[in-house]
Symmetry: C2
Subunit: 198 residues, 2 copies
């Protein structure tokens, strides 16, 4: 194949490969977060590439899921890594963070369900640590500043943060929570949880 198409310049081939990789990661993220059991064949089809091309870039399902997680963590991290957040009081920063990133964080969680089936726990934990630490640091700052409660353990508050996002996503899917109410409900619930009762 390389010999029969010698005139295609290298940069164009590299651009093709990058386009394919981006399409595969986008399709894999979409399909795996909807159904953790989505097949590699379905992912290739949705990405508009052949299975051989997909396996050329990602030699196994595990390698693909690993890359998808890395990609999703990168997206979540980019959203969470907003220097403006650090300058605002913790409750405001928390509200802004929920507004900007609850969907990214929930998609992220779904991908972990897919990963959980095929990857080593340690590798999954590494991926999970970064966004978790960012949320933890924000809650910690709120506690230091006297804005957030200190009568409940920090890890528990971090857990409820993710659990509340997960519940809201499920309620929206089932139609019990109208899409336009999700953000208000999330922010109100989370701030009540984090704010010490007077």
């Amino acid at each position: 194949m390389v010999r029969s198409a010698p005139r295609q310049p290298v940069p164009a081939r590299r651009a093709d490969a990058e386009r394919n990789i981006a399409a595969i990661l986008e399709a894999a993220t979409r399909l795996l977060s909807a159904d953790p059991a989505a097949s590699v064949a379905d992912i290739a089809k949705a990405a508009g590439v052949g299975r051989v091309t997909l396996y050329g870039h990602f030699p196994s399902r595990e390698a693909l899921v690993d890359a998808v997680l890395e990609h999703a963590v990168g997206l979540a991290d980019a959203v969470l890594d907003d220097p403006a957040l650090d300058e605002r009081p913790a409750p405001e920063a928390m509200a802004a963070l929920l507004h900007s990133s609850w969907e990214v964080l929930d998609r992220h969680r779904r991908l972990f369900v897919a990963a959980d089936r095929i990857m080593a726990t340690e590798r999954i934990r590494e991926h999970h640590e970064r966004p978790l630490r960012r949320v933890e640091r924000l809650i910690e700052r709120g506690r230091r500043d006297g804005d957030f409660r200190t009568d409940l353990p920090l890890p528990w508050l971090v857990t409820t943060f993710f659990s509340i996002i997960h519940s809201a996503a499920q309620e929206r899917e089932s139609g019990r929570l109208p899409a336009e109410d999700v953000e208000r409900v999330l922010v109100t619930t989370m701030l009540s949880l984090l704010t010490s009762p007077a």
Copy 2:
């Protein structure tokens, strides 16, 4: 067999059957809540009965899971159906309810994971409705009495009740939340969530 043991009186045989059924339900509840994929053979073994005896009482895995759910709902309902709860202010009643029943409610939830794999959604929903309605009624009363918030939808508050219990159970299992802290953390979290900020 009946002919070769004709002297065993009928009440004794009935008592045997009831003991077997109780042992099977107890073992099935325990095994299925630890692992939703637990096999009928393992359940029979843990109950100390043969598979033939088990199938004599529960002709299919579905019939067994259905009976286990019915049994678990009965237990949860018995704990929740405490007339004393109705006489106390809603926040106190909520704290008492969490104390008495969070473990029952969490076990209950795990059984639904097992049921989800083999039973029709409608049948599962019927089982789930009763305890859910009791929690809903308590929260509703608290809202009417001005003790609980009305700025968040009632179904959302019911969902977070179950989701918080589930998170606490997971945190305890993972060792991140010491067993002796679970109840205090649950009650504090739930009341913060239900109580409108001043």
